[in-house]
Symmetry: C2
Subunit: 183 residues, 2 copies
DNA sequence: AAATTTGTTAAATAATACTTGACAGAGCCG
DNA sequence: CGGCTCTGTCAAGTATTATTTAACAAATTT
């Protein structure tokens, strides 16, 4: 876990902070911070969280979670990969190349008229963002129902039970970004 | 840092794993895992990373980073907030309500003809996803230049220097999702 | 009902997180 | 120049805690 040190140092210097000024906010000695940054010591979880807070970043970023993604970053409109596991009338397309180190998974949903999520309520950690490009989609979170039309967007935690349904008579499209990637 | 325990337990049971089967993959004792799950002990960073790997999730998720977002998840197309700090000819609109616990920040970029990022190369941790909705946008990553047209998308690390430019004569629009939120 | 498997606990140890104090180098000001 | 304050780093010590071993009762299995 040596990467955490160089990341902390980098962000700290970005913020224009000194070891001692950071140590005051984190409530550890400047010496210890130095040892962490040089890889000679490793902080506890709570200390690392304090450091992340003081640097206004996240633990995930400090430990290098989701760094270095694919070399070929582009996905053209004409060459999207379609996911197999989608339900009836539900087409899901990848908007990135498959890569282990992504923090989020951007998808394009194409729902034919009246198509829906099929009653399966996904539950996993993470968050989701949906922006409707075409048509009208009804999204149910827990007990709340929302109707999203072109340009409307929604943001929610993945662990609340959620379902969706195309309520229009035409095909509906939406950008759907989830974190972390599950595909 | 008690939350890490209940999260581990939750994911482990989701995966249908037992304390001992998990302990075999993580190379710690099942007893220790139990102490972690019940909040009586706290794992070291490397151990937590091993646990996250074995459960195919991330450390960030296990420590509850970016849980519980806003109560009002919806942003209507007509009521988006515009960011002030945008440059000349560059309109940036929030696609979520402001909230401290988001893992990603979805934005809508509207670039008038020939508008560009102004030579500022942002550098911070995280990743970015861009999908062009309208027009043609040229994005430069390090030394590579990419032209994105309607429906094309790109995914890259925020720490590589990047710039953008509307190369068309009409207004261009793009969905721009960054992680972690900086606004 | 024996046997295996589940999660949990107590106690002991091995490891390491963290502090104190001191150091050399760099910048600054008189 | 000489003193002053700041920087980051290091060595050695202490205190904390991460982790193990072994044993336990409650479920499950056979």
């Amino acid at each position: 876990m040596k990467i955490v040190g160089v990341n902390i140092k980098r962000v700290r210097e970005d913020r224009g902070m000194t070891l001692r000024s950071l140590s005051r906010e984190v409530n550890v000695s400047a010496s210890f911070l130095s040892q962490i940054e040089t890889g000679k010591a490793s902080p506890s979880l709570v200390t690392l969280k304090s450091i992340a807070d003081a640097l206004s970043t996240t633990v995930g970023n400090l430990i290098g979670e989701g760094q270095k993604v694919s070399d070929n970053p582009i996905v053209r409109a004409s060459e999207r990969t379609r996911l197999q596991e989608a339900g009836k009338g539900v087409g899901i397309y990848l908007l990135t190349s498959q890569d282990a180190n992504k923090q989020m998974e951007p998808l394009l949903f194409k729902l034919s008229a009246k198509a829906n999520s099929g009653g399966v309520s996904y539950k996993h950690f993470g968050q989701e963002f949906v922006l409707v490009l075409k048509g009208a989609i009804e999204i149910t979170l827990n007990d709340s129902m929302y109707v999203l039309r072109k340009g409307d967007s929604i943001y929610f935690n993945s662990n609340v039970p959620h379902e969706f349904r195309n309520i229009g008579n035409e095909e509906a499209e939406a950008i759907w970004v989830i974190t972390p990637p599950t595909f």
